[in-house]
């Protein structure tokens, strides 16, 4: 294959796989936005916190990988529940920008605690679940098994979410989100639903963190502004989904991943920070042209 074609192929494959992480983050953001109308800036930090917990369990305490993952996810969920209790619920009558500042505060607190607890080793690495790497035939893009596992987890998570929202429990969540007062009247505990959604969002964030961390070295704030930055791409994916659609969040995450990887093409090598520039431009274009999102089911778009 020719130079540019192959480069493009590599960028698309890498972008799609990186997009899986963004999609996981975006799913959490959409879930929380539907439940509480909150832009959750702590979503990425659920992931980093889970990652750090898994790292501590695996490399410092010598647990098995399975238990390390379970522990990491547990810590992420606990953090999600604490955020709901300590910040989001007390601020339920405050304005949405206020709650946004509150979740940003949670993110900052998490970063601070990560720095504090792990200040001996500033840059950390964690072994992958399966440490092997292969080249995709024809295109020649390097792919780690870890990334394939991430893709698999994303598919499983999407299917399970889709099934869940058709189950009775999922329907109560939808009811509580659409009309809280009416839901209370028919006996749904909106409070419990809110806790449940935050726990699910934190779980998704934790998965994103634990699965993407081993691909790179990580520091505190890894998913917010560190090497594995997924907060902004996750939000952009959620915007593409109109902040409402779950399948849209997955599609949006993959799209954002590919768009971002275009910045690594050799024609962009002269441009400093090409990836950040592309993301900024892309976000502006989307918000100017299609502010209600692209990957939105037609019924939701008209609503």
């Amino acid at each position: 294959m020719s130079g540019l074609g192959q480069e493009l192929g590599v960028a698309i494959v890498t972008g799609l796989l990186q997009g899986c992480v963004y999609a996981l983050v975006a799913l959490g953001i959409v879930l929380v936005f539907r439940a509480s109308g909150v832009f959750n800036f702590a979503q990425a930090e659920f992931g980093t916190t889970g990652l750090f917990a898994a790292y501590a369990a695996l490399t410092l305490w010598g647990w098995s990988y399975t238990w390390a993952i379970v522990f990491g996810l547990g810590v992420a969920v606990a953090m999600g529940l604490l955020t709901e209790r300590l910040v989001v619920h007390p601020l339920r009558n405050a304005s949405r920008v206020t709650v946004l500042v509150g979740t940003a505060g949670v993110a900052l607190a998490a970063i601070g605690i990560q720095f504090w607890q792990f200040n001996e080793t500033l840059i950390m690495t964690m072994p992958r679940i399966v440490d092997s790497l292969f080249l995709v035939p024809v295109i020649g893009a390097p792919v780690t098994v870890q990334q394939l596992i991430t893709l698999g987890v994303l598919i499983v998570a999407s299917v399970m979410l889709a099934l869940f929202f058709r189950s009775p429990a999922g329907l109560t969540i939808q009811a509580a989100q659409q009309e809280p007062t009416a839901a209370e009247l028919v006996g749904i505990s909106v409070r419990r639903v809110s806790m449940l959604t935050w726990a699910m969002a934190a779980l998704l964030g934790g998965l994103a963190g634990i699965l993407s961390g081993p691909n790179l070295t990580f520091t505190a704030g890894f998913l917010s502004f560190g090497a594995g930055r997924a907060l902004l791409p996750g939000f952009m994916a959620a915007v593409l989904a109109g902040m409402r659609s779950m399948p849209g969040a997955v599609a949006g995450g993959l799209t954002v991943g590919v768009v971002e990887q275009m910045g690594t093409l050799s024609m962009m090598i002269e441009v400093p920070g090409a990836r950040a520039m592309l993301l900024f431009g892309f976000l502006l274009v989307v918000l100017m042209v299609k502010p209600h999102g692209i990957f939105v089911p037609r019924a939701a778009a008209t609503a």
Binding site: F39, V101, A104, G105, G221, V239, A276, L283, L287
Partner: protein
């Protein structure tokens, strides 16, 4: 109950006559001579802390150059926080990319002084102008967007500026950094502190004039409800752009000062953490309270540089007892204070010091002065 349902006493026909309406006006409160003396003493003490202490005048302490540099940084942060306060406090527009506002000013100023060999004072002016222009451009975008989406754009703008704009090596010196020498007369840390203080005074004056003017009232109105505001003939778009311009102006000044404070600036110092720090300073300080925002900025600057911890001898507590290194104290303590501010004391530091502030300006001491029931960052635009 039956009494209340009885016939009301007949209202005299001339009840509305102005001669009958004599409101009992209490004479305005005037402090006694002792009260004025006490206030004067406190004012003198404050002036001493701000003006004389860093220069070791009449001071039992020995303030070194590094401590004065921290004090200068606190003053600069106060300017930056006031800049965010214009957007977040007066207009209810959150900016998560404020590090870019400051950074643009910093690099503009460094470029003018280092590459063009022009004077520092010109550079401050141009930096302020640059800050205002980029803020207005971003603000023009925000006119089309609602509150939460605008927060996203600023977040993306921040990382775009940090990596792309500040990554242009020919302008910013890239990772190696850009030298930004101090002006001739102000090379010593002590003199530079007074320079920063002068700029803070200027910024406070502009901010005060802004809020006291028609523009300030227009902003308050459009923050509460842009539709109602525009129905009263307020040009909502124009005043939002004015707010962005003023905010960018302040941020540009802060950037220029921080550049020449550090004397070498690198792009990585303008990262997302700085933006969050500005949000912390403004919200914990107390939105729309000038005193509070300045105090909040000083508090976090001193905390960030570890000066506050060592001042009170708390290293033992934080490092020994909690195992928390001094440089991370602000990261752990700050967010906790933020959440406390949001949920329990929405007025922030400004609310806490309001009784003292009012007392100092010659009012009666009222413990409940300045109470705010909610952080009124209204999101009508959201």
């Amino acid at each position: 109950m039956s009494e209340t349902t009885q016939v009301l006493p007949a209202v005299p026909a001339d009840a509305n006559d102005e001669t009958t309406v004599v409101p009992a006006v209490e004479p305005p409160f005037r402090p006694s001579r002792a009260g004025w003396t006490a206030r004067g003493v406190v004012w003198a003490a404050l002036a001493w802390v701000v003006l004389a202490l860093p220069l070791n005048i009449l001071s039992p302490f020995e303030v070194g150059v590094t401590d004065v540099d921290v004090a200068s940084l606190a003053v600069i942060y106060a300017i930056g926080a006031l800049s965010l306060n214009v957007l977040l406090g007066y207009c209810g527009q959150i900016s998560l990319g404020h590090q870019a506002f400051v950074g643009v000013g910093a690099f503009a100023s460094a470029y003018i002084v280092t590459n063009l060999q022009l004077s520092f004072f010109l550079a401050v002016g141009v930096a302020a102008l640059f800050g205002a222009v980029q803020a207005v451009l971003l603000g023009a975008v925000s006119l089309r967007l609602t509150g939460l989406y605008f927060a996203l754009v600023t977040l993306a703008y921040g990382s775009f500026a940090q990596e792309t704009l500040f990554g242009i090596t020919s302008l910013t010196g890239g990772e190696g950094g850009k030298p930004a020498p101090r002006p001739d007369f102000f090379t010593s840390g002590y003199r530079y502190y007074y320079l920063c203080l002068g700029f803070l005074a200027l910024v406070l004056w502009i901010d005060w004039r802004l809020t006291a003017s028609k523009a300030g009232r227009a902003m308050a109105a459009l923050r509460e409800n842009p539709r109602v505001a525009s129905s009263y003939g307020i040009d909502v778009r124009a005043y939002i752009l004015v707010a962005f311009a003023v905010s960018g102006l302040f941020a540009g000044v802060a950037g220029s000062l921080v550049a020449h404070h550090d004397e070498v600036i690198v792009p990585s110092s303008f990262d997302f953490r700085l933006a969050l720090l500005f949000v912390l300073m403004t919200v914990v300080g107390g939105l729309r309270s000038r005193t509070g925002v300045v105090l909040g900025a000083v508090f976090f600057a001193l905390l960030e540089e570890g000066a506050l911890v060592s001042m009170f001898g708390l290293e033992g507590f934080f490092e020994g007892l909690l195992g928390l290194p001094t440089e991370f104290v602000s990261l752990v303590v700050g967010p906790i204070l933020l959440v406390l501010t949001l949920t329990l004391y929405p007025g922030g530091i400004g609310q806490q010091v309001a009784p003292i502030r009012l007392w100092l300006t010659g009012h009666r001491f009222d413990r409940h002065a300045g109470r705010v029931d909610d952080v009124e960052v209204t999101d009508v635009r959201a």
